[in-house]
């Protein structure tokens, strides 16, 4: 009973973990495959090269790609495009005002190209007319309640434009496994001509359907030549404009590129979790097999084994299968019951994709059946094979077989596997955790604490004037240290790339830099460090529209040798002819994004090139504890000036750390499953130890009679296990180092894998093993040997 319970618990945990983790792996690796023809759809992603080396790689294309590709490439079967410029818009219906995250323009074939189901409206027609809009079911509910939304007009506002769009369709909320998560889609016909065929703004996603993979590659090859016809301006002329046709199903797990909005998965994390799932399953099986074989050896006894011939052997096999069938069936049932109870809590608690629509997913059921059958087969068959081998060994009565033959070879191998797994998991957990702490603890070079950020309002008359006015007014609120406007904030990509040149550069190299519009106060407010030169200042009239401040990365990119050369140097901005902009300062590189990203080449400026670089955020640095009250006052101030806009604010440190959310969760998953695995390993040790003691009672008694002290007995039994731990340490240390070394390679800024982590993992395993074994052994060690022998 005791042994059955141990193997059952081990199986429940390992099978359960396997199903949960594999379901997650499946979930993550099958994004976007619900579209019919999903295997024929590609996203054209921009890839600029200079003399064969990559200069930039974006997920986007320009507005003009789609039209030109459709006209020129016969390989294009269908093409559709999303324009996400100013994707965050304030939407209003009567007194309902919300800021919607993803409001985009899409070509009229969007709903026939993809398979997103429409609840209302005709896929062929919804996006055909100008000033029409399709909205998600939840948006419909939010703005119109139960009323029919069709024909109702929404006001859709950016900082500069207002659209009045009649609802022409309602789509089902995009499913969780879609890389696109759109709230509202305006017909492309509503946009200006410029947003249809312009080649110098990469704010579109272009999706292409082809007949074959080969066609997609052909398109890739033909594209640079096509681009030559359209890149008529100076900017980026020196670069070759290429595209990568990225299969739809790869998008989710590919690394994050500039201008991607969705929460990305990680191929590597998925692969790791897959391996962990296998490890934990095997550990559970090993546990089960170990206990079953030990038990049967016990049961049969050596003499019994010798008698195991023909029919008896068959009988025993059948018995084994029935037993493992029952236990596996029980394990699956217990898991199901536990999941029914736990699922509501789990979905709230952690990583929802892992438990998303758990019971509705065919994968879960498929896995359960598969694992049940496989598990029954393996846990039923392996003990039989072992016993067979033992039997032959016993019959042959050969010298070695007495020592090694009792199925020990296999069992020891399995035990070593378990300990190795435990060590690898502990090292991984600690290293992942340390990397997370390292990234979140490292000085960013910019102060994101005590900062409340709100998003700038929708279009009004005298927009910039009013914004400046409330900025000044907010500065007078008690507890407010500074208020500054900017086009981005740390944690949000600067995201406005233009191709600029150093003035008088003989080679005329234009480099893509990110343009970051700020006001006089921003650099001080964020405590960015000026290495050379000065900050923007009101005492220099030209700063407002003529001066630039570079980060060190931007400085190097422009080809300045050092700060001395940069400050006082001049730069020509894209589209501004030969106009010279003066570099007045150089900033120390700071982490604008998470430490998963490198420093970025950023150019700070106060004006808006091409009138396209809006202030999107206002950062309020606060002092003291009463942030809530201050937020309330800010909102009142804001509402009094911008009654038609929603007030959307957040604390910057939380906002910044959201970039690590995936990784932290990933770390937590690994940690939980590490502890579960160690728990199963403990169960295994417990079972094996108690069986071992059963087999060795007589031996222990004889040893005690021969003079062994209780501690020597403890040592004897412990050593039996510690030996295997030792071997596992020898195997596990380089293995885990290698695994973690590879994992860390993905991070530009990373911790060291310190030697003590391995010591810790080793000690922990030794300790856990020692305690488990000793608990089992202490009774035998203290027992009067006479009694044990009498019972023999």
């Amino acid at each position: 009973m005791f042994y059955t319970l141990i193997s059952l618990i081990g199986l429940v945990i390992s099978m359960g973990a396997f199903v949960i983790l594999m379901n997650y792996v499946d979930f993550e690796s099958h994004y976007d495959d619900f579209h019919t023809d999903s295997d024929q759809i590609y996203r054209a992603e921009s890839y600029f090269t200079l003399n064969g080396t990559v200069a930039d790689s974006w997920a986007t294309s320009s507005f003009g790609y789609a039209g030109a590709m459709k006209a020129e490439f016969s390989e294009v079967k269908a093409i559709t495009r999303i324009n996400f410029k100013d994707n965050e818009r304030i939407v209003r219906y009567q007194d309902k005002i919300y800021r919607e995250r993803m409001v985009v323009f899409a070509d009229s074939n969007f709903f026939s190209f993809f398979s997103f189901p429409l609840l209302k409206g005709d896929p062929q027609k919804v996006l055909r007319e100008p000033n029409t809009i399709a909205i998600s079911a939840s948006a419909a509910k939010k703005y119109f309640g139960d009323a029919d939304p069709i024909g109702k007009v929404l006001d859709i506002t950016t900082r500069k434009v207002v659209f009045h769009c009649a609802v022409s369709g309602v789509f089902e909320d995009f499913p969780p496994q879609s890389h696109l998560k759109l709230d509202m889609i305006i017909s492309y016909a509503s946009t200006s001509q410029f947003e249809r065929d312009f080649w110098y703004m990469h704010s579109a996603y272009t999706y292409v359907k082809t007949n074959s993979e080969a066609d997609a590659r052909t398109i890739e090859k033909k594209f640079p030549a096509l681009a030559e016809k359209f890149k008529t301006e100076d900017a980026m002329r020196d670069k070759s404009w290429e595209i990568h046709m990225v299969p739809l199903s790869d998008i989710h797990l590919n690394p994050l590129k500039p201008m991607e909005f969705e929460v990305k998965g990680s191929k590597q994390n998925v692969r790791f979790i897959f391996v962990f799932a296998l490890i934990i399953l095997i550990v559970g099986w090993v546990n089960f097999i170990n206990i079953m074989t030990s038990k049967s050896i016990e049961r049969a006894g050596e003499i019994g084994l010798r008698k195991l011939v023909g029919s008896k052997m068959k009988h025993m096999m059948i018995q084994f299968f029935i037993e493992s069938f029952i236990i596996n069936f029980l394990a699956v049932s217990v898991f199901l019951i536990l999941m029914v109870i736990a699922l509501p809590f789990l979905t709230d608690l952690y990583y929802s994709p892992m438990f998303n629509q758990f019971w509705q997913r065919p994968m879960v059921w498929g896995l359960l059946v598969l694992i049940f059958l496989l598990s029954t087969l393996i846990t039923g068959a392996v003990p039989i094979l072992v016993l067979r081998k033992i039997k032959i060994a016993v019959v042959l009565k050969n010298r070695m077989s007495f020592r090694v033959g009792m199925g020990k070879g296999l069992r020891h191998g399995l035990i070593i596997f378990q300990f190795t797994a435990a060590i690898v998991l502990v090292v991984s957990t600690v290293t992942i955790r340390r990397q997370m702490d390292y990234m979140q603890g490292k000085d960013l070079g910019a102060d994101v604490t005590q900062t409340l950020v709100f998003k700038t309002p929708a279009k009004t008359d005298d927009y910039e004037g009013k914004l400046e006015m409330i900025t000044e007014k907010m500065k007078t609120i008690g507890g407010v240290k500074s208020v500054s406007r900017s086009s981005a904030v740390p944690g949000e990509m600067v995201d406005f790339f233009i191709a600029n040149q150093r003035d008088n550069d003989p080679e005329k190299v234009s480099v893509l830099t990110e343009m970051f519009r700020v006001d006089y106060d921003f650099i001080d407010a964020y405590q960015l460090k000026i290495v050379k030169g000065r900050n923007f200042s009101k005492s220099f009239g030209a700063d407002k529209d003529n001066s630039l401040i570079l980060t060190q990365s931007a400085m190097k990119l422009f080809g300045f040798k050092n700060e001395e050369e940069a400050v006082g140097g001049f730069i020509n901005l894209e589209g501004q002819g030969n106009k010279k902009y003066e570099v007045i300062g150089v900033l120390k590189d700071y982490h604008h994004l998470s430490l998963k990203e490198n420093f970025r080449p950023v150019v700070f400026l106060m004006f808006s090139p091409w009138n396209m670089l809006d202030f999107q955020y206002v950062s309020v640095k606060i002092q003291g504890a009463n942030a809530k009250a201050i937020a309330g006052m800010l909102e009142r101030e804001y509402k009094s000036v911008f009654p038609d806009s929603s007030f959307d604010s957040f604390f910057l440190d939380e906002f910044f750390n959201r970039q690590y959310k995936e990784d932290v969760t990933y770390g937590v998953i690994i940690m939980i499953f590490t502890w579960l695995t160690i728990f199963i390993v403990c169960l295994g040790i417990l079972g094996i130890a108690s069986l071992m003691l059963l087999r060795r009672t007589k031996e222990i008694a004889i040893r005690k009679i021969s003079g062994a002290k209780p501690w020597q007995i403890l040592k004897l039994i412990n050593m039996e296990f510690i030996r295997w731990v030792g071997l596992a340490i020898v195997i596990g240390t380089p293995l885990s180092w290698w695994i973690m070394h590879n994992w860390l390679e993905n991070f530009p800024y990373r911790t060291e894998i310190e030697w003590w982590i391995f010591v810790l993992a080793g000690l922990l395993t030794v300790l856990v093993t020692g305690i488990t074994v000793s608990i089992q052994t202490v009774k035998n060690a203290l027992e009067n040997p006479v009694k044990s022998l009498r019972n023999e």
Partner: protein
């Protein structure tokens, strides 16, 4: 060497109390070879366990080599035992997973002896017991007589002053039995004190003195030589 007086041993379980030894007294001198006889269940094994310091007693006195050991704790008993006493059992009690050599070496493992000296001693004893050629075999590969010789070898390997044998020939045929008895006699001749429990009058004749027991008490003592 051994002097017990009014030795008492009571086994208590939940339902019943068994008085295994009831005010037992006798003395064994250094160099003696004593046989203990009596019907099954009269307390012979219990007596041997107590003499062997494997079990504690419930009353009386037990003087071993001039020291009162009745109140010794486990640790002290264990030390005293390892230095002075060797055991031979009816069922041999060898460890199946260990070779003949390793089985014989066992009592030395728990002393301070170095490996080299241990090996020397074990080989010496194996030689004496004519088991050298079986050195690396496992108990299961040996005949009963050979196994018991290994057990005797183990009992004498650390040169004990006293050997306690509980029906050493009980599982052996007469040829093998006699061989073992001859070994015992030889050991005794070399100065080892022996107390042996036996059912066989034949075996008992090898001893100097027979103690006959009944219901935990000594009934008679016959002196043979």
């Amino acid at each position: 060497m051994i002097k017990i007086t009014e030795l008492k041993k009571i086994y208590r379980s939940e339902e019943l109390e068994t008085t295994a030894l009831n005010d037992l007294s006798f003395e064994v001198k250094k160099g003696e070879f004593v046989a203990v006889m009596g019907p099954s269940g009269c307390g012979k094994s219990t007596l041997l366990n107590i003499l062997g310091l494997l079990d504690d007693l419930d009353g009386g006195s037990f003087i071993f080599n001039g020291t009162e050991v009745a109140k010794f704790n486990d640790y002290k008993r264990s030390d005293l035992r390892t230095e002075n006493i060797g055991f031979v059992f009816q069922s041999f009690n060898l460890i199946d997973e260990l070779t003949v050599f390793e089985n014989v070496e066992l009592p030395l493992i728990y002393t301070k002896l170095k490996e080299k000296e241990r090996k020397k001693k074990v080989d010496e004893v194996l030689e004496r017991m004519q088991l050298m050629h079986r050195r690396n075999h496992f108990p299961q590969q040996l005949s009963g007589g050979q196994q018991q010789r290994v057990a005797v070898a183990r009992a004498v390997v650390n040169d004990p002053k006293l050997i306690l044998a509980d029906e050493p020939t009980g599982n052996l045929d007469s040829v093998n039995g006699n061989e073992v008895m001859q070994l015992m006699t030889d050991l005794n001749a070399q100065g080892t004190t022996i107390i042996m429990v036996t059912h066989s009058e034949h075996d008992a004749k090898y001893s100097h003195r027979i103690i006959r027991m009944l219901d935990g008490q000594v009934v008679t003592e016959n002196i043979l030589a």
